[in-house]
Structure formats: C-alpha cells, structure tokens
C-alpha cells in the first residue's frame, strides 16, 4: 500500500486532474441556485403550494356568487379539499425547507436525504387522493352546468350516484397515476441512495 501511496502522491505533478480555480468562478458558484435534488424538489413544491393557495382564495371569493345552492355546496367541498391540499403542500415544503447538513458523515447525510424524499412522496400521494378526484369531479359538474344552464344538476338520486362513482373511480385512477409518476421521478434515484446506504451499513 505504501507503494500505491507513493504513486498517488505523484498525481499533482501531471495528470488528468484539473488544476486551480479562478476567484470569479467561486463567487459565481456561491451566488447560484442549488442544483441538488432536494433543492429542485423544494422549488417544485413551492410552485404547487403557491398555485393551490391562489386557487383556494379564488374559490372562496367566488362562492357567494355561485347559484344554485347545490353548486355552492360543491364549491365549498372543493374549497375544503384545496385548503387541505394547501396545508399538505405546506407540510411538504417545511420538510424540504430545512437544508440537509452536508458536513455530516456520508451515511447519515444519505439517510437524511432518503427519508426526507420518502416523506415528500408520502404527502404527494395523500394530496392526490384528496385534491385531484374532487377537483376533476367538480370541474366536470360545473362544466355540465355551464354547457346547459337549464339542466338542474344534482337534482335527482341518479346524479348523486354518478358523482359518487366518479369520485371513487377517479380516486383510484389518480392514486395509480400519482404512484406511476412518482416511480418515474424518484425510483432510480432512491434506489441509488439505498444501495449506497446499504454498502455503508454493510
């Protein structure tokens, strides 16, 4: 091994490793946005939180102007779903907001990263179960009303059956779709993190 250390010591003389750095390059790096996975995820969640809050406020302000009563009720249900969605997005954001300590040892850094992303995925799946089916169903019913204002939407039991079945079907489909999207976005990355964690714990 001493021989290998001696060879290693010759690296700095000539070799494929770059040499030096300009101060301007360092200053540019210090003022740049993070390109890390969690930083990108945090920006993405912040955008979703912002949009959800804006939509929530818009919905709340429009309730008094919606008629008939059943539409107001639907709108209120939608508002409640958006409020809950906003809270859950905020919860996700606060998980990601606290930066990971990159000066801790690699094993704990990796574990922090891995479990934080798993928690975010968990909240994303809860949000999809609450927000998306209700949004889509409500949007569908409002669209029906707008297309033919003469029709009294939700006037009979048949309409309610359609509504409930729609929510159940859309909830199931949203859950599958969200899990599929999460697999595409996160699976290989989490797999790599997990492999490294297992190697270090071995």
């Amino acid at each position: 091994m001493t021989e290998l250390k001696e060879i290693w010591g010759k690296l700095d003389q000539n070799g494929p490793i770059d040499k030096g750095i300009e101060e301007s390059e360092i200053r540019k790096a210090l003022s740049s946005d993070s390109l890390g996975f969690i930083a990108k995820l945090k920006r993405n969640v912040y955008q979703k939180l912002f949009i959800t809050v804006v939509l929530t406020v818009g919905l709340i302000l429009s309730i008094p102007f919606i008629f008939p009563l059943v539409s107001q009720i639907l709108m209120s249900v939608l508002c409640a779903a958006y409020v809950l969605g906003s809270l859950l997005f905020y919860k996700e954001y606060s998980i990601l907001k606290n930066g990971i300590d990159m000066s801790q040892d690699i094993l704990h850094g990796l574990k922090d990263y891995y479990f934080r992303i798993k928690r975010v995925i968990h909240y994303e799946e809860i949000i999809c179960l609450i927000l998306y089916p209700i949004s889509i169903t409500s949007g569908f019913l409002f669209g029906m009303k707008l297309a033919n204002p003469a029709i009294e939407v939700m006037s009979g039991p048949y309409d309610w059956v359609i509504l409930i079945v729609s929510i159940l079907v859309l909830t199931f489909l949203s859950d599958r779709f969200t899990k599929w999207l999460n697999r595409i976005a996160f699976e290989s990355y989490l797999h790599d993190l997990k492999n490294h964690i297992e190697e270090l714990e071995d």
Binding site: M1, L4, K5, I7, W8, K10, L11, D12, Q13, N14, G15, P16, I17, D18, K19, G20, I21, E23, I26, R27, K28, A29, L30, S32, S34, L35, G36, F37, I38, G99, I100, D101, M102, S103, Q104, D105, I106, L107, H108, G109, L110, Y113, Y189, L193, H196, E199, L200, D202
Partner: protein
Amino acid sequence: MTEKEFISAIKKHIGIIHKILYLYVDDPEDKHDLKQEIQLQAWKSIGKFRGDSQFSTWLYRVALNTVFTYKRKQKITTDPLEHHDSYAENKTEQTDQAELLLRAIKGLHDVDKTIITLHLEDYSNQEIANITGLKANNIGVKIHRIKESLKKKLNPQAS
C-alpha cells in the same frame, strides 16, 4: 469564516474537488454542475465548520455528500482501464502509473472509491470512519479487499 477566507480556503484545496469530480463523474455537464454545487454546499454549511477538524477533512465530507446525493445524468459503467492503450508500455513512468491508479480507482464502486481515496490521502481508519459513517473496525478489512482488487486491475498478468 468570512467569504474572503472561504474563497481562499477553496482555492487552496480545489484539488480535492477536482479529484472527486474526476473519480465520480464523467459527463461534462455533471462535472460543471457538481463543481458549482460542491462549492455552494460548502459555503452553506460553513457555519457548521468548527475548526476541530482540518478544512480539507470537512471539505471532503461536504464534497462526497454532495456527489452521493446528486442525481447524475450518467454513471460510470465501463472499466476506465479497458481502453488504456499504453497500460503495459508505460508502467515504469510515475505519472502514467498515477494515472493508471486513478483510472483503476475510478472503476470501483462509489463507496470503495471513497474509502481507498481517503486512505491514499493519508487519512487514518478512524478519520475515514468519521467521514463515511462506516464502523472503524470495518475500514481495515475493506481497504485490504480494495487493495487486492486494484492489484488485479493494475497487474492482470501477475494475478
């Protein structure tokens, strides 16, 4: 540490970042992005540098954490020694030997790469354990195994 002191420390230890980039990353875009990200993460974590370890040790920890948690566009999948034409001819040249060693290390798994690089940089087993989170009594065994693997890569005729 002020920004000026930090910049000065980075300039002094930039070799650590460059070595890590060479060993862990092939894609030029990844290299550029990671180089920037390591410096940024080091600056963000500078408040946690208490001076009880050397700046180089602390920088290794930050740099390796950044590399391990970065979503690389391209992983190193081929053995970097496979296409080295002058592998047999220039074995006696010290700098070529160093390059061969570097390439052999580059072909290892990420965790093995980390352990052997820190060992070659003269970190003790306990220091390596502090940086990686591995148990100190496992380090010696792993170094021995990695050394055998490197010897086989560098001297395939002998093995």
